[in-house]
């Protein structure tokens, strides 16, 4: 490939890439803001996860009974409050 051919090939590539970049298309994905509800649902998922894990570790023998009950109560309270807020938002 001579220098001239190289430059020509480069110019064609530049043109093609420019067309691709600036092609007028309106089907672009919009940047939706995350809502409080989205956030709470994610958080719920995580708390469920933590609770399941707590149950499992208890069964695998890592917590004494009283520790487990206290931990579970704490996590369940937190999750219940979260669920209450989720329900509230969903009704609104």
């Amino acid at each position: 490939m001579t220098d001239l051919q190289g430059v020509l090939a480069g110019a064609m590539m530049a043109l093609a890439l420019g067309v691709y970049t600036f092609w007028p298309e309106n089907a672009f994905a919009s940047q939706r803001e995350k809502t409080r509800l989205d956030y709470l649902l994610e958080r719920k998922e995580q708390l469920y996860e933590n609770l399941r894990d707590l149950n499992f570790e208890y069964r695998a023998g890592k917590y004494p009974e009283e520790d487990f009950v206290a931990q579970r109560a704490l996590l369940e309270d937190e999750t219940a409050q979260l669920l209450a807020e989720i329900e509230h938002l969903q009704q609104a």
């Binding site: 998922e45 707590l54 520790d67």
Partner: protein
């Protein structure tokens, strides 16, 4: 082709610049809610497309270089210096990264490839990806500026066109060298992705911790590449450099190890953030540091600041990297200060006896190790600055300081999994420690009994002592991890009436991340056993005439011939050795020395016979000029193959951890579709 390559690089630079500036303007407009003539979201999308187009342009440039190598276009300086006609095809690929300019181009190409995938997946979270893509464009702009202006790979040779090139450095003419550097680079470069996500999430004050889940896969894949890159490098050093070892605490090795340590710390501590919303600032800085360390590593080794066996790629681009580091650091600090209120911890620690605190100590130790290595690497420069003389910080320093830290880390690897999340009392889990402790002490006693004692002739031997501790701890950690598997599988077996093996399989499937992680830990334990074997290395050097013998360990080496050979690429001399064990001939070895014709550089080719208990490692050192007979150096290196086996476990474990977990039977996480909530299946979290 040179003109096309240079042109393609310029196009890529322009596209990266557009990607960065259009991206910044668009995100700024969206953040401030200002209106403009063009929709900011449309502008952001053109920026994203520019990133994709930029990847195409860099690919074209990389292709141009490879094409020129294969067509022996010695009018390009870089190709003249790093290739020759007789070079075998796979090594022609290696020429792409055997020098400064080519490896920077490879770096830019890999970054482009990562960015390409990221920009294609942008619908996962459009806004977060827009931020990450823009930050990525900033990094890409730097690397493309360097390859365009400071280290152009397509610069043309002045003067007459030579018939043949100088050839590839013989050290690099080895199969691993075709995959080791790209792996390592994939690791280095890959950390740009979690960095971009973390910085982006901080800039946009991302609500919640979901971004961590989004980046988890990226971080693990990157970590895997870096791990494989490091171990391939070790294997290369072992098989090629011919001194019988695999790790010399060389600045270049250290440079790859430091981001590995902070990256590993990040993979652990990020679970605290995901589960409990803790340690947010810490994690942000861990990932910033990992990125900065991978750039610093490049600066250290490429900028000629420290001397190293990897001296084949030095130049004056140091200033560019210093400037880039300063800018990155400034952006990180500025963003952090501006947004630090966003990083308040939500929760607290419940107890010292918990998985959380074990993660804290794990981070402490990994970071301490990183500091030791950074300190050791930089101290010669500091010393020259303060007292005017350079000092050497070599293996004895690291062995003394880093090995105890490593052993402490190994200890934590065993303790951590036994502790549950949140809190518990020591009393409750004391019995979980019984079996691992028995395994530990039993191993120590067995080692002492078979002669692996920390003293020799009444003198205390530190190396042997560390090896003993490492063996004992490894047994303890292995048992602890195994008991974790069994305990978990036991619960499932009871509930579902399966046998233990199928329960273990189900257990792993249900929480791939945790049990994949444990498989990685098993790999680490196996690697440690292999490393500890080095305390018992033996070596023997001897001149071997025809039919004369030398003995090492259980083997007797008998020289049955020495001869010469040559091909287009190199001349070689080698010895034919018959290896006897218990008086019987077992196998033959042919250690070799080559002189590469193009570069006129000599190179040893080690012969290695590897079994589970040790490697017989034989080097052809040359011939005695007086007698004309070959000098053979033989090493008996215990347990080396364990290192490579351990890495296989680490790789498997990472793959397991990358597989999405099965959702348990109570699939209650599904949110009714009417809510418009994300429809992706809920992932199993945990660690």
């Amino acid at each position: 082709m040179a003109a096309f390559g240079s042109f393609a690089l310029l196009i890529a630079l322009a596209l990266a610049a557009y990607n960065l500036f259009a991206g910044v303007i668009a995100l700024r407009l969206i953040a401030t809610g200002q209106s403009a003539r063009i929709s900011p979201e449309r502008l952001a999308d053109t920026a994203r497309r520019a990133g994709i187009a930029g990847f195409v342009a860099v690919t074209a440039a990389a292709f141009a270089l490879v094409w020129s190598v294969f067509n022996n276009d010695f009018s390009i300086t870089y190709i003249m210096e790093h290739s020759n006609r007789a070079l075998p095809a796979p090594y022609k690929f290696a020429a792409l990264w055997s020098g400064q300019e080519g490896s920077l181009l490879l770096w830019a190409w890999l970054l482009g490839a990562y960015g390409f995938v990221l920009r294609l997946l942008h619908k996962t979270d459009v806004k977060l990806y827009a931020y990450a893509g823009t930050i990525l464009a900033g990094v890409q702009l730097f690397f493309l500026s360097v390859v365009n202006f400071a280290a152009p790979p397509f610069s043309l040779l002045k003067g007459a066109l030579p018939d043949d090139g100088n050839g590839l450095n013989p050290l690099l003419q080895y199969p691993e060298m075709v995959i080791h550097p790209p792996m390592l680079y994939l690791g280095y470069v890959g950390f740009t992705i979690p960095f971009a996500f973390a910085l982006g999430a901080l800039m946009m004050r991302y609500p919640g911790e979901k971004w961590i889940r989004i980046t988890r896969g990226w971080t693990m894949v990157t970590w895997l590449f870096l791990t494989m890159g490091i171990f391939l490098g070790m294997h290369w050093a072992y098989a090629v450099l011919g001194w019988g070892g695999y790790w010399g605490w060389d600045p270049v090795e250290n440079a790859s190890f430091m981001p590995w340590l902070t990256g590993t710390a990040f993979l652990h501590s990020v679970m605290m953030q995901e589960r409990k919303g803790m340690m947010k600032s810490w994690n942000v800085w861990l990932i910033f540091s990992t990125f900065i360390l991978s750039i610093l590593g490049t600066l250290l080794t490429r900028g000629g600041l420290v001397s190293s066996v990897h001296a084949f790629a030095q130049s004056s681009i140091g200033d560019w990297f210093v400037a880039f580091l300063v800018i990155v650091l400034a952006v990180c600090i500025f963003t952090y200060i501006l947004q630090r209120s966003h990083l308040k911890s939500e929760q607290r620690l419940e107890s010292l006896v918990s998985r959380e605190s074990s993660f804290l100590f794990n981070n402490l130790v990994l970071l301490a190790a990183c500091f030791v290595i950074l300190w050791g690497t930089l101290f010669p420069i500091l010393s020259e600055y303060v007292q005017g003389t350079k000092v050497t910080v070599g293996p004895p320093f690291y062995n003394r300081v880093a090995i105890p830290i490593g052993l402490f880390l190994l200890f934590l690897t065993g303790v951590g999994p036994l502790l549950p999340w949140r809190s518990t009392s020591l009393r409750a889990i004391r019995r979980n420690f019984v079996v691992p402790s028995i395994a530990l002490w039993a191993t120590v006693i067995v080692c002492l009994a078979v002669g692996a004692r920390p003293w020799k002739d009444g003198v205390f031997d530190t190396g042997n002592f560390y090896a003993l501790v490492a063996f004992g701890l490894s047994a303890g950690v292995f048992t602890a991890i195994l008991s974790e598997f069994l305990r978990g599988a036991g619960v499932i077996a009871r509930q579902t009436r399966r046998n233990l093996f199928s329960a273990m399989y189900l257990l792993t499937r249900r929480n791939t991340r945790r049990y994949g992680g444990y498989i990685i830990h098993i790999g680490v334990v196996i690697v440690v056993v292999g490393l500890a074997g080095a305390a018992f290395n033996r070596s023997q050097e001897s001149e071997l005439g025809l039919n004369s013998t030398m003995a090492i360990g259980p083997y007797t080496l008998k020289c049955v011939g020495f001869t010469q050979d040559s091909n287009l690429n190199y001349d070689s001399e080698y010895a034919l050795l018959d290896i006897y064990q218990n008086g019987k001939k077992q196998f033959q070895m042919t250690p070799e020395k080559r002189v590469y014709l193009a570069s006129q550089q000599p190179q040893t080719m080690v012969a290695i016979h590897s079994v589970l208990s040790w490697d017989l490692y034989v080097v052809y050192e040359g011939t005695n000029p007086d007698t004309g007979q070959p000098i053979i150096k033989a090493f008996l290196n215990p347990l080396v193959s364990w290192i490579w086996a351990g890495v296989v476990f680490m790789v498997i474990g990472t793959f397991v951890a990358l597989v999405p977990s099965l959702v348990p039977a109570t699939a209650s996480l599904r949110v009714p579709a009417s809510l418009g909530a994300p429809t992706e299946p809920a992932l199993r979290g945990g660690d």
